[in-house]
């Protein structure tokens, strides 16, 4: 589910000699389970999450539900991340969960969180330390690889339309939520850049140009990336799930500030029609092509 840190977690747990069970790509059934086990106003992404948790119940001994809320420099995540552990616990009171909490405001650094997690799993201190180190390295290598691939696309001058997709990783890389969009774009021959790929620290610094007081880390990364790519791409597609709190404001602000690049905002709901979505993407690409000529 969580595409950002997936590599890190997998490496950490496997290093400790545990078997990792990952829920499959999102499908209609998982989404339906999620819709049934969450309240209707919850955002679509959170519903998908609940679906995955429910799928995992009974298939493994403990389910790992991470909580990541604040960072070194006072940035925070969406409040959904604050509560997800307690929500999951309240919704499925009989299941076994394990978690860590990264909360720099409360002096819970990432290293500490992993240490605690390791202790809870009954692993040796030294083993946990080594596993954490390797996990960090694995994540870094993974991110570097993605970034260089993206740079290569940017440099290649094969005349294809370059479209920047601005979306949270947990939405755009999701099989059910984001993939139809990516697929349609690829079928139309556009080359896709993802806003979440470039280096996080650098992008957070850049985001000040568009939004001076933003404090959501993930939105800051995306906003910084928009600023970084704005004169390098032909068009920008925002993609968000209904009713995402941070996105509702962040996208509005960006769309009001940038005037010289064509933009469109796709809002995904849990009962979407793919045909309508495709039409919108097609017409957007048509506009971009007409503009390029």
């Amino acid at each position: 589910m969580y595409y950002k840190y997936q590599v890190m977690w997998r490496s950490f747990f496997e290093e400790l000699g545990l078997e990792v069970v990952v829920s499959p790509n999102t499908n209609k059934k998982i989404l339906d389970m999620g819709i049934n086990s969450s309240i209707d106003e919850s955002c679509t992404s959170a519903k998908v999450y609940m679906g995955h948790v429910e799928w995992l119940i009974g298939k493994c001994d403990v389910i790992f539900v991470p909580r990541v809320v604040t960072f070194e420099d006072g940035d925070a995540t969406c409040t959904k991340f604050y509560g997800i552990y307690d929500i999951v616990r309240a919704t499925f009171p009989d299941a076994n969960f394990i978690h860590y909490s990264i909360d720099y405001d409360d002096k819970q650094t990432e290293r500490k969180a992993y240490k605690k997690l390791g202790a809870e799993l009954g692993a040796k201190k030294s083993a946990v330390k080594a596993a954490y180190k390797n996990a960090v390295a694995a994540l870094e290598a993974f991110e570097k690889n993605l970034e260089s691939r993206q740079e290569a696309i940017l440099k290649s001058g094969d005349g294809a339309l370059k479209v920047l997709i601005v979306a949270h990783p947990y939405n755009i890389y999701d099989k059910l939520i984001g993939e139809p969009i990516v697929r349609t774009l690829e079928e139309l021959g556009a080359s896709i850049l993802y806003a979440d790929v470039p280096d996080s620290t650098r992008m957070c610094g850049r985001s000040k140009a568009l939004a001076r007081s933003m404090y959501w880390r993930y939105n800051k990364e995306l906003t910084g990336s928009v600023d970084y790519y704005r004169d390098k791409v032909d068009g920008i597609i925002f993609m968000t799930t209904f009713p995402c709190g941070p996105d509702s404001l962040a996208i509005e602000l960006i769309m009001r500030k940038i005037k010289d690049v064509p933009m469109t905002n796709l809002i995904i709901d849990s009962n979407f029609g793919e045909a309508g979505l495709n039409t919108r993407i097609e017409s957007f690409i048509d506009i971009l092509e007409a503009r390029k000529k």
């Binding site: 309240i39 919850s42 809320v69 604050y82 509560g83 552990y85 404090y215 009713p243 509702s248």
Partner: protein, 395 residues
């Protein structure tokens, strides 16, 4: 910081501070969004702080037009306080305001101001936006001083601190009076309590100083207590929890407290400005303790508070809880599944409301009536005080 500490140590009361009423040659026309009755204090505070360099222009009271204007220019699924604020701003700017005040917050609210500023500028308004930080992380008296100093060069530290303390004193008095009225107005038979409160508010807005506020407060409290109440020994009790703006702005919740009072219900609500800013009970550690294992961590903004208060109401034999929130409010959406669990474990009914620009008033009323019928039937079924079950152990 040194300066600030020094000022704090000194006696801060400045008696004739408010006697200096403003003259009519003004530069700044200051306005701010509404929230319940608090415009009285905020207006007074700003007036005291900018002194002769500005004029406070309270935005027109919230009406249907306010919310329509706000909704028209807001992003599609932003939460409802944003739309109210924006509507207030537009109406204030149309009346000639040129300095706007806004606060920040822990959830989406902290980012309101920047987006609203952009929207208003796109609409062609020219103004200056000042932000009063309420977020404990960035709250700093020094920044506040700097900001007001730029509006009013004559401002001194003494003036700032004394005005702030004065405002806080008024807030405490207002909240106490309001709390009494809320608990008892359902048993007064008519709206005499509310009328007294209204008179109190007009008088306190023009109080001459700290001690004067105290005198006014005591006089009105006495008057309120003198109103005969027809209150049964064990009245029906309902607690209200939820998101702070819709709780405190009666227009946005369709005057739900008044509606409840009509049924002869005692209404309790913890959230008010004095509670949010100063109560030690609002500290996150205390709340998590009060929530008794239902939450392990802070679940964002006031969500933790809602859960903690639900547990509190359930433990204290309340008949029901009403949970209010703006549509899509993430912290409160977080709190709902947990509140549902509380409701199940304790057997206490909870009614959830979600407000948006298009909520129908009749719908709200009907649901309230049904809820009232339900809890009174539950009571008649012979469970005067519902048994409090053991809390199941949770990992």
């Amino acid at each position: 910081m040194k300066n600030q500490r020094k000022e704090r140590g000194r006696p801060i009361f400045n008696g004739d501070l408010c006697a200096q009423r403003m003259t009519k040659t003004m530069k700044h026309k200051i306005s701010f969004p509404h929230m319940g009755k608090y415009h009285i204090v905020i207006g007074r505070l700003l007036e005291d702080l900018v002194g002769e360099n500005g004029e406070v222009l309270t935005a027109p009271a919230i009406t249907k037009r306010t919310i329509e204007l706000g909704a028209k220019h807001s992003p599609e699924f932003v939460c409802i306080p944003f739309k109210y604020n924006l509507g207030n701003f537009i109406e204030a700017l149309d009346n000639g305001a040129n300095v706007l005040f806004h606060t920040s917050g822990d959830c989406r609210m902290g980012f309101y101001n920047e987006v609203q500023e952009q929207i208003l500028r796109d609409l062609g308004y020219d103004f200056r936006l000042c932000i009063l930080e309420t977020n404990s992380r960035n709250r700093s008296l020094r920044d506040m001083y700097k900001m007001f100093k730029s509006l009013n060069p004559q401002l001194t530290w003494t003036r700032l601190i004394s005005s702030l303390i004065f405002a806080v004193r008024i807030i405490f008095a207002m909240d106490k009076i309001e709390d009494y009225v809320r608990r008892n107005t359902g048993f007064a038979g008519d709206d005499s309590l509310e009328k007294i409160e209204k008179r109190f508010l007009t008088e306190v807005a023009n109080a001459r100083g700290m001690f004067h506020v105290g005198r006014i407060f005591r006089r009105y409290m006495k008057e309120l207590r003198a109103v005969p109440l027809d209150k049964p020994k064990n009245p029906m009790k309902i607690g209200i929890v939820g998101e702070l703006y819709v709780l405190m702005e009666p227009f946005s919740n369709y005057f739900i407290e008044k509606e409840l009072a009509k049924f002869g219900i005692e209404v309790t609500r913890f959230i008010n400005v004095s509670y949010l800013l100063f109560s030690p009970q609002h500290k996150i550690k205390h709340l998590i303790k009060q929530a008794e294992g239902y939450v392990t961590y802070e679940i964002g903004a006031d969500g933790t508070d809602s859960v903690a208060k639900c547990v509190h109401f359930a433990r204290n034999g309340y008949d029901g809880i009403i949970h209010l929130k703006p549509f899509g409010c993430t912290p409160e959406v977080n709190s709902i599944p947990i509140c549902q669990r509380v409701s199940e474990d304790f057997g206490i009914p909870i009614l959830y409301f979600s407000f948006d620009a298009q909520t129908s008033e009749t719908g709200v009323k009907t649901r309230l009536e049904a809820f009232y019928d339900m809890i009174s039937m539950k009571r008649d079924a012979g469970r005067e005080m519902p048994e409090i079950p053991e809390i199941p152990m949770r990992g």
